[in-house]
């Protein structure tokens, strides 16, 4: 029996009194909110029940239960593995515009040092991706170099490479591409046209499809679309409810629209009911100032206004007849504005309430994040030619949140001058997370870390030579590769064929006792 499963089974068998206590105990928050949570959860089930299981899937990480997600343990073209969690390849340097006078030589080093002296095993590789750019002309050449890397806003601080030019660290300009993955239906392969779940890229070929025609990179550098739509906003404030008695007190707003003339975006609402005739009901749990309920609630109306509406309080999230509670109230303020102003404010609101203490992800400007949200709305959200099912309810909070975590390719741009007939050295240093299979999934690749590199995908540079080196190998063993390293023979540096598109290295960490981690 795998060890993690044994632990799982052992946890199943812990003493009954411990289990019982954990079901009933009130967490030490600022007030006795545990029961409130329980009621909220119950209500959430009711609310979710309307949208059914599909909405529930929204709460699952990255695509939830889609049967199309990387199945792991599989073979792959050329002998590499399709991992369950794919970190993306290391891309080659490129130029913003092709320049035939410039060529490149590349030398990439994988450093498998332990993160700390007391680390138990290697996880990830320190990478130094070195380039010598040569100007073959008789005139100095000014070019913009671009270094692409796979990542997400939420992990950017850890993923972003440091760029050095001739040994001096420079501060590049960062350009995020759009969401790199796709969407799939709730039932995966059985619902190929669905788009309720996320489907992140799971192989280097996925990146090949993404980058091959250059349009993805072009979009990353193009201006973001504008959100200059005029909107009517209904904003809730001055919440009142007997929360001591009804901890999950809920307020709902309902109205009828002509769906052909009116589109609704929402922020902060947990519940929604609708029908095709235009009936809409949005409901939220009254904020209590303690639990992490949304504190801002806005309905943003595009097109014809909603007209008359009704407000009704409820004892909990079940907005059913018989469950009304008339002592719930709020002030609804109607005003007109421009969508960009509203979205910008909601991004601040979201990161104030749900972000880490620092607010926006480190290294990302408000302008950049706002642009990414705008782009997402046009690519997959309300303004997309093909609206993803996932965003059909116009939940802005979901979009603001998912823009943060979704995978994308970033480009670091640095202007450089290469002297006539001369060379410059460009170095990218990064810590690359591995691709891997989840523990105890039955995959034969559990414990294996995969590292992909591509030689010319997305690059307009001519590479005269490409070489790879592997260092600090004491704590790893190589499982699969096509680089040509031979640790037993001391071959740790190899010349690569620039015509080969993809190189892969799959290693297993060896623990400090000298045994491969089981």
């Amino acid at each position: 029996m795998e060890r993690e499963k044994k632990l799982f089974d052992a946890i199943t068998g812990i003493r009954d009194d411990l289990i019982e206590q954990a079901q009933d105990i009130k967490p030490k928050t600022k007030g006795p909110k545990w029961k409130a949570w329980a009621i909220i959860a119950a209500c959430a089930v009711l609310v979710v029940g309307i949208g059914g299981i599909m909405l529930w899937q929204n709460f699952l990480p990255l695509g939830g239960s889609s049967g199309d997600a990387g199945s792991g343990g599989n073979g792959h073209e050329g002998g590499s593995t399709v991992f369950m969690s794919y970190a993306g390849p290391v891309f080659p340097l490129t130029l913003s515009e092709q320049d035939s006078k410039v060529s490149a030589d590349r030398h990439i080093t994988y450093d498998f040092s332990l993160a700390n002296e007391d680390s138990l095993r290697v996880w990830g590789a320190g990478m130094q991706d070195n380039y010598i750019l040569t100007n073959h002309s008789g005139q100095a050449c000014r070019v913009n170099i671009l270094y692409p890397f796979a990542g997400s806003f939420s992990e950017l601080e850890k993923q972003q490479p440091t760029i050095r030019i001739d040994g001096a660290t420079v501060k590049p300009t960062i350009y995020p591409g759009g969401y790199s993955g796709e969407f799939t239906g709730v039932y995966g392969r059985d619902e190929p046209d669905g788009s309720e779940n996320l489907k992140p890229l799971d192989s280097w070929e996925g990146y090949k499809n993404l980058l091959a025609d250059g349009s993805y990179q072009e979009n990353a550098f193009s201006s973001y679309p504008e959100l200059n739509q005029k909107v009517t906003v209904y904003e809730f404030s001055d919440y009142k409810a007997p929360l001591e008695e009804y901890r999950a007190a809920t307020e709902a707003i309902s109205f009828t629209i002509d769906p052909a003339k009116t589109t609704i975006l929402q922020y902060g609402f947990e519940g929604m009911m609708w029908n095709e005739k235009g009936y809409r009901e949005y409901s939220y749990f009254v904020p209590d100032g303690v639990t992490m309920r949304a504190e801002s609630h806005l309905l943003i109306v595009l097109g014809d206004d909603i007209g008359d509406y009704s407000l009704q309080g409820y004892k909990n999230g079940s907005t059913e007849p018989g469950n009304e509670l008339d002592t719930v109230s709020s002030t609804v303020t109607r005003y007109e504005g421009v969508l960009s102003d509203i979205v910008s404010r909601l991004i601040d609101d979201y990161f104030t309430q749900y972000g880490d203490d620092a607010g926006l992800p480190k290294g990302i400007s408000k302008e950049l994040y706002f642009g990414a949200v705008t782009e997402f709305l046009y690519q997959h959200g309300t303004f997309a030619n093909k609206l993803a099912d996932r965003y059909q309810d116009g939940r802005l909070m979901d979009i603001i949140s998912e823009v943060n975590i979704l995978g994308r390719v970033f480009y670091l741009e640095v202007p450089v001058t290469i002297p006539a007939g001369g060379q410059i050295a460009v170095t990218a240093n990064l810590h690359k997370k591995p691709s891997f299979d989840f523990a105890c999934t039955g995959s034969k690749n559990v414990g294996i870390q995969g590292y992909d590199m591509v030689t010319h995908l997305g690059s307009n540079l001519h590479f005269g030579s490409v070489a790879a080196e592997i260092t600090n190998i004491r704590d790893i063993e190589i499982i699969r590769q096509n680089f040509g390293f031979d640790l037993s023979a001391g071959v740790t540096e190899v010349a690569l064929d620039p015509a080969v598109e993809h190189y892969y290295l799959e290693i297993k960490a060896v623990n400090r006792l000298g045994k491969a981690k089981r």
Partner: protein, 185 residues
């Protein structure tokens, strides 16, 4: 209805027992199954199988802590379903849980005695006894109930990132405890 009354219905072979169990603990059972399997239809089947198993098990059993006993059945059926179907299906919940649990594995040479699951449960219970009540709650809600980190963070009024760090320390704490006790898995 009190638990002992529900159990009496089972002993009397009254089918209302299942209805009462569903009414009182249906959501609890479903939450465990969906947390582990994340595939709604499979979770639903698992809960149905749970009721079936309860019907066939009481009598002769007469569980003292009915809710915990039910939850253990759901967990067992859910992990069995994952085990059986994992080649064909992805179950995000259990895969993430198991991945996290790898941090708890003690760094012990395999020459040590490999314990039976039941004895290991005892060690984990003993370790849980050493924790502050909030830490114990967090560990059980995450790794027994299978609650998502985000949900748990919301419950206790912190951010998922902060809670993830706390959970990591808890997992490492269990690993250290088992290592200290010379437990091998």
């Amino acid at each position: 209805m009190e638990d002992h009354e529900i159990i009496n219905l089972y002993w009397n072979r009254d089918e209302a027992a299942i209805q009462e169990t569903t009414y009182k603990y249906g959501r609890f059972c479903h939450s465990i199954a969906i947390n582990i399997l994340t595939v709604p239809e499979d979770a639903e089947e698992c809960v149905s199988d749970t009721y079936h198993k309860v019907w066939n098990t009481i009598p002769p059993e007469k569980p003292i802590a009915f809710r915990a006993w039910l939850g253990k059945i759901v967990r067992n059926l859910s992990i069995n379903r994952w085990n059986h179907n994992r080649a064909q299906k992805r179950y995000a919940g259990v895969e993430i849980l198991l991945s996290e649990l790898s941090d708890c594995i003690p760094d012990t040479e395999t020459t040590e005695e490999i314990l039976e699951t039941q004895i290991l449960s005892g060690y984990i219970s003993d370790w849980l006894d050493t924790l502050a009540s909030m830490e114990r709650l967090l560990f059980i809600r995450r790794y027994w109930n299978g609650e998502e980190l985000k949900q748990l963070a919301s419950t206790i009024g912190t951010t998922p990132n902060k809670l993830a760090g706390r959970m990591f320390r808890l997992r490492k704490g269990l690993s250290a405890y088992l290592t200290e006790k010379g437990v091998a898995i």
